[in-house]
């Protein structure tokens, strides 16, 4: 099948704004499940609330669009109750790192056999551009009109520390790498966490000098640094620009996991 077959075409067009990266990340995810030969009848997409969480509504499988922050807890129930189902979770920075932070660390600790794709656009998009736990220090939002005064969360470091078996970060600019990382996640028993930096020109870019879609793509292209290079620069004690997005695979391991199909 082609990945178009994974879409609920009667639900298109989607609600995402022009220039939003969520469609790109949805494409990468569907290309990944298709390439892995997953059976749509045995696949469930789960999400919480926010722009990211509308994604399952556009996918022609069983899908569970739940309450804000709780997608991982719902997905844990689905996967433990029937480990033979393939379960993918879509979430965002507000959904996962703020209201759902507790479920995030415990899903990683349990290492439930889920693939979690976080569309991290550094902002609450659905409600119109409020600061989130990943909004960079100093960035403008409607609730940080003088610049965010809060340090931001490193979701990848959190997932690694909490015990997930596979953790990666890319940006929506890196479509091949995103698809590949998700495929690795689908194959890895245990929890796989893929953070994808997502562009939100409408609610983040407009306030932070990334108004144009191309500005956002250029930002991702020029600020990204692969983990190997980042590690080398750190080891050599060389300076690293403060807005660097470290991308790549951060961990792949085989810690004990739950909900793995026998």
């Amino acid at each position: 099948m082609s990945f178009d077959d994974w879409l609920r075409t009667d639900r298109l067009p989607h609600i995402w704004c022009s220039g939003c990266s969520n469609g790109t990340i949805l494409n990468c995810t569907l290309a990944a499940v298709d390439a892995e030969g997953w059976d749509p009848d045995r696949t469930v997409f789960v999400s919480g609330i926010g722009c990211s969480s509308r994604a399952p509504g556009y996918i022609a499988t069983d899908s569970l669009h739940t309450t804000h922050g709780r997608a991982l807890a719902f997905a844990t129930g689905v996967k433990l109750a029937d480990p033979s189902l393939n379960v993918v979770v879509f979430t965002g920075d507000g959904d996962l790192a703020a209201i759902g932070g507790n479920h995030f660390i415990h899903a990683c600790r349990r290492n439930i056999d889920l693939t979690v794709v976080c569309m991290n656009n550094l902002i609450y998009g659905m409600t119109g551009g409020q600061g989130s736990p990943t909004t960079p220090l100093g960035a403008l939002s409607t609730t940080s009109p003088y610049g965010s005064s809060e340090p931001a969360f490193d979701l990848v470091a959190l997932a690694v520390a909490a015990g997930a078996n596979h953790v990666a970060r890319w940006t929506a600019y890196h479509v091949r790498e995103v698809q590949k990382a998700i495929q690795t996640g689908l194959r890895t028993p245990g929890l796989s966490f893929i953070e994808v930096r997502a562009g939100c020109p409408t609610n983040y870019g407009r306030k932070n000098r990334l108004r144009e879609v191309t500005d956002m793509a250029e930002h991702f292209r020029t600020r990204s640094m692969v983990k190997a290079k980042f590690d080398r620069l750190v080891a050599e004690g060389r300076p690293i620009p403060p807005d660097t997005i470290v991308v790549g695979e951060f961990v792949r391991r085989a810690l004990p996991a739950m909900g793995v199909a026998p």
Binding site: D41, P56, A73, F74, G77, D82
Partner: protein, 368 residues
């Protein structure tokens, strides 16, 4: 052949759940309900079920909802503070028509209140606690036997009507140990699968759609947003919203005669106790100690949907007396349905009403 046992109420509830077919339990420890989770932790792995201790009660109810969509009968157990945390996802279960059972072994509130003492303060919370208009089913056991029997019944009603069913126990019944007869067969109702050719949220005359279990090819979209019969979001369509919410409420409220479960003692009585849960035991004592004094009992085993027709079982009633371990939550409901005085006899603090206290309440009401 039934088997006689001496058992704690909370354990009996777990055994009833297993007999009803429950194969998924997600929970979080909280007094005075913890023994339900402990019993499930022991039993589930031995019968091919799943026990998971979640990180909080929000996650517990979420996992139970997720499990139910795979077709498993699923349950959680909690008490006041945990019950409060569950409210948002209870509304999600109502909106998505997810069958599940929630055992609430009630303790004194508000807030942390009295963890080890009995109360019935959550009777309105289970009915109205989540936001929006909705209907649910709530049962109330007055013995260890009923912790078992009514847990079975809660599962059957949840499956039949595709909504959360609550076993609204209290600490006294949950922690009581008494004789119980364990039947080797119980009546079991399974959810009706989605009929071919029907939309996933398209209901028949009873308002209850067939269930499109995950993984069986229905490719259903389940959302807490207002949705149409396809399950697709229709959150800005006023007609779709009204149609959905009215159906969710009507499928339960219109079936209240079918769901009703109550016990009538002395239907010719002039003074009638309306009771549920542990206060029913004190009421029973008063009525058997005072034969021939025109005292009757309406004991509700199902409290919600409220069976107002049951009040008409007492055509001579001049007075209803409602002893509760709260400040009159169900008394208020009784008042809505009768034209004679309704006396609320609240008991706060965690102890049972004494028979003397109830006798005094009758005397005061009669002389008033």
């Amino acid at each position: 052949m039934t088997k006689l046992e001496f058992m704690q109420g909370n354990t009996a509830s777990a055994e009833g759940a297993i007999a009803a077919g429950c194969r998924f339990f997600g929970g979080y420890p909280i007094t005075p309900s913890t023994e339900v989770a402990e019993a499930m932790a022991r039993r589930m792995p031995k019968i091919g079920g799943v026990f998971v201790q979640m990180e909080d009660e929000i996650a517990s109810i979420a996992a139970v909802i997720g499990a139910s969509w795979t077709g498993k009968k699923a349950m959680t157990a909690t008490s006041g503070p945990g019950f409060s945390l569950m409210m948002e996802n209870i509304g999600f279960a109502v909106m998505t028509e997810t069958p599940l059972v929630i055992v609430n072994v009630q303790r004194g509130g508000p807030s942390t209140g009295q963890p080890t003492m009995s109360a019935q303060g959550d009777m309105l919370q289970c009915r109205f606690g989540s936001h929006g208009d909705m209907a649910i089913i709530a049962l109330s056991p007055d013995s260890v036997q009923e912790m078992y029997d009514l847990t079975v019944k809660a599962f059957n009603l949840a499956e039949r009507f595709r909504c959360p069913a609550f076993l609204m126990a209290d600490e006294i019944i949950g922690h009581m140990r008494e004789r119980i007869e364990l039947p080797d067969h119980v009546e079991i109702v399974d959810r009706r699968p989605l009929e071919p050719g029907r939309l996933p949220f398209e209901a028949g005359a009873d308002g209850v759609p067939g269930f499109p279990t995950f993984g069986t090819g229905h490719r259903v979209h389940v959302t807490g947003l207002t949705h149409d019969e396809r399950g697709y979001p229709a959150a800005t369509d006023p007609a779709a919203h009204e149609r959905l919410v009215r159906r969710l409420v009507d499928k339960v409220e219109n079936a209240r005669h079918e769901i009703a479960d109550y016990r009538v003692t002395n239907p010719e009585a002039e003074v009638v106790f309306v009771c549920y849960g542990s206060p029913a035991r004190a009421v029973q004592q008063v009525v058997s100690d005072h034969p021939g004094e025109g005292l009757g009992i309406l004991r509700l085993r199902v409290v919600w949907p409220f069976p107002e027709h049951a009040l008409a079982e007492f055509p001579n009633a001049r007075l209803f007396i409602v002893p509760e371990q709260n400040l009159g939550q169900v008394a208020r409901e009784v008042e809505r349905h009768v034209r004679v005085p309704v006396i609320s006899v609240p008991r706060l603090g965690g102890e049972l009403h004494t028979p003397d206290e109830l006798v005094r309440a009758v005397e005061e009401a009669r002389s008033a």
